[in-house]
Amino acid sequence: MAMDVRERKESVEIAIEAKGGSVASVKPTRQVQTTIASKNVCVYYGDKQALFNISLEIGKCEITALIGPSGCGKSTFLRCLNRMNDVIEGCRVEGVITLDGRSIYDPKLDVVQLREQVGMVFQKPNPFPKSIYDNVAYGPRIHGLADSKDQLDQIVEDSLRRAGLFEEVKDRLHDSGTGLSGGQQQRLCIARAIAVNPEVILMDEPCSALDPIATAKIEDLMLELKENYTIVIVTHSMQQAARVSDRTGFFHIGELVEVGDTSQLFQKPKEKRTEDYIRGRFG
């Protein structure tokens, strides 16, 4: 029951931080701590509004899947969570997003620190054209996480191991990361992301450039990683969302139509639009 207390406390914090807008019913339905909470998030690209009042909570050590037709704003929402929208010219984010109760758009918060806590894996594997070792060591180096070469070696090995890549590459750590296969590159990117020991890992269609076997490996990996990390994944594959995620959110034209436990959302969607989409009637 201690959990309950904690949850209520967080809800209150969110309620305090969300200026304006209705905050009456921010009550988590499950016995899970909230890591990221977004409240009335609106995003604009120039004059064009891409997201409308998104309020979504992401549970700790859960996999949250975001699904929806192309162009509905999944990537945009994901980029809000580690402030990668900052670098897009003309992009403006409104509303409140908190990580462990702290607003991430707080001007006092250093975005570098945020990105250390919230890692990201992209749709197309994008390893740096450097050695495998340097790819993984990059984050720890710029954040000063290792005091010695040995410690750095250890971090690199651990990260590669957790990403399920170590055995495959242990003899060629100093070969270029771009020389790996697509699936290996994506796992390298995951290893790179977890090397700084983030709380949350954001994945934007991480398997869309991969074959089914490599995809299965990444999915297994996600299920393992969820022990320690909170994962948010954008996917176009409903099967994938059903296989790996605990909760699923359905986006449609900039709105979060429905969010719920994955099994519930896929079996008994509450909204007509959700049902149409997962039955393959549009999108």
Binding site: M84, V112, Q113, R115, F122, N126, F128, G139, C189, A193
Partner: protein, 421 residues
């Protein structure tokens, strides 16, 4: 209709063949032009790498030289002019007339006494003895020996009197005239005497100019390119700047020279004729080339690299310096080398800032007045002496060799480090 179609096909085919022949002819013509250029330069220039010398027996007499010992200071003070002259008189004891003797002594280069002195410096023990030395012959004799001046020519057109030719024939028979590899051409500075003139001063001057040019234009070009490509907001002002950078690349080089003259020499009073000023002027010219090359290379680096780095928590600057710039480096360096190669051949701006002065000494720093390769070519091409003709071509060979080397480096960089995404 079939008839018509056939005709059209035939016509098209003929047009195609015609065009191919035009293309082949164009390539053939430019190939011929290049071949003619290279053969002329090679055939006239190669002889400059050889120097004709004459074997004479010099009496290293203390009194005649006017020294008492063979110590370094003494040797440097001595007078070697008369003993050198005497050595050649001794070869022709029958010649006693004063004007004939003047002709005789003029068969040796005016640098010959210095060669005797240098020999004595290296061999102090030979003081008081007779030394058989190969001394550099005078330029016209040199040209005669190389066949650039024909013996069959009329005395008036030849520029060498019949007597001198007969003396030359005598010496040749005696085995006292020989060709040597002309180290001096590559190791000494300019001279009024063609047989002594070398390109080393010009090479060093050009090197210093390019060094200054590189040190200024490379960091500035990269900084400008990074700012414009990665940081600058895309608005009217950046657009105007962009257009002007491209314009700058097209400005005739002599105008940069005038700018250097007006601002660097007259306003800032930097030392005239120096590689420092030359380098600054050349840097202005090279800058746009580097900026354009660097921007193109930065643009070619995929955005996913920047995003990947920033998602790892790197700042924008870190992302650029750790990942983007290293990837853009090969392309930037290729552009830089090509820009520097252009700068190496640039003559007009250097003329404007006074690097056209006659300078014998090899510069020891970019602050000293100096020659440069293209201007050296210009100066020698203007000289009246026959001996400078081959030097001009040889200097062109030297500059072409450097250009070839630089372009090869650029091609190497491009193929070796080019990355495909």
């Amino acid at each position: 209709m079939g008839e018509n179609g056939n005709k059209r096909l035939l016509k098209r085919k003929r047009a195609e063949i015609r065009f191919q022949w035009i293309g082949r002819f164009a390539i053939f013509a430019s190939g011929c032009a290049l071949l003619i250029l290279l053969t002329t330069i090679l055939s006239t220039g190669t002889t400059a790498f050889f120097r004709t010398k004459m074997l004479v027996d010099v009496q290293l007499d203390k009194e005649a030289i006017g020294i008492t010992s063979a110590s370094r200071e003494q040797v440097l003070q001595g007078d070697y002019y008369s003993i050198t002259k005497q050595a050649i008189y001794n070869l022709f004891p029958a010649v006693t007339d004063r004007s004939d003797r003047r002709d005789l002594s003029s068969m040796l280069s005016s640098g010959a006494p210095d060669e005797v002195r240098d020999y004595l410096l290296e061999n102090p023990s030979s003081l008081g003895k007779v030394a058989s030395l190969w001394l550099t012959a005078e330029s016209n004799l040199d040209q005669l020996h190389k066949g650039n001046i024909k013996k069959e020519l009329d005395e008036v057109h030849r520029g060498i009197s019949n007597r001198v030719v007969s003396w030359y024939d005598f010496l040749l028979r005696e085995g006292r005239i020989k060709s040597f590899f002309n180290i001096g051409f590559l190791s000494s500075g300019d001279s009024r005497n063609p047989e002594q003139a070398g390109v080393w001063g010009a090479i060093v001057g050009s090197f210093y100019s390019l060094l200054v040019c590189f040190l200024i234009s490379f960091p500035m070009g990269i900084a400008a390119a990074i700012y414009l490509e990665e940081f600058a907001p895309k608005n009217r002002i950046t657009e105007i700047i962009e257009v002007n950078i491209n314009n700058l690349a097209a400005v005739p080089s002599i105008i940069f020279g005038l700018l250097g003259l007006a601002i660097l020499l007259n306003t800032f009073e930097l030392p005239r004729s120096t590689p420092l000023v030359g380098g600054i002027v050349l840097a202005l010219m090279t800058l746009p080339t580097i900026i354009i090359a660097c921007r193109a290379s930065l643009k070619a680096v995929p955005d996913s690299i920047r995003q990947g780095a920033m998602a790892m928590g790197a700042s924008k600057t870190q992302a650029i310096f750790h990942h983007v710039l290293p990837l853009a480096m090969p392309g930037t360096l290729t552009g830089t080398i090509i820009g520097l190669a252009q700068a190496l051949g640039e003559t007009a701006p250097l003329l404007m800032i006074g690097m056209v002065a006659f300078i014998v000494d090899v510069p020891k720093s970019p602050m000293e007045p100096s020659a440069s390769l293209p201007v050296q070519i210009y100066l020698w091409a203007e000289s009246a002496e026959r001996g400078f003709v081959e030097k001009t071509s040889a200097a062109i060979m030297v500059i072409l060799a450097f250009l070839l080397l630089m372009n090869a480096a650029a091609v190497f960089l491009r193929t070796r480090f080019e990355r495909r995404w």
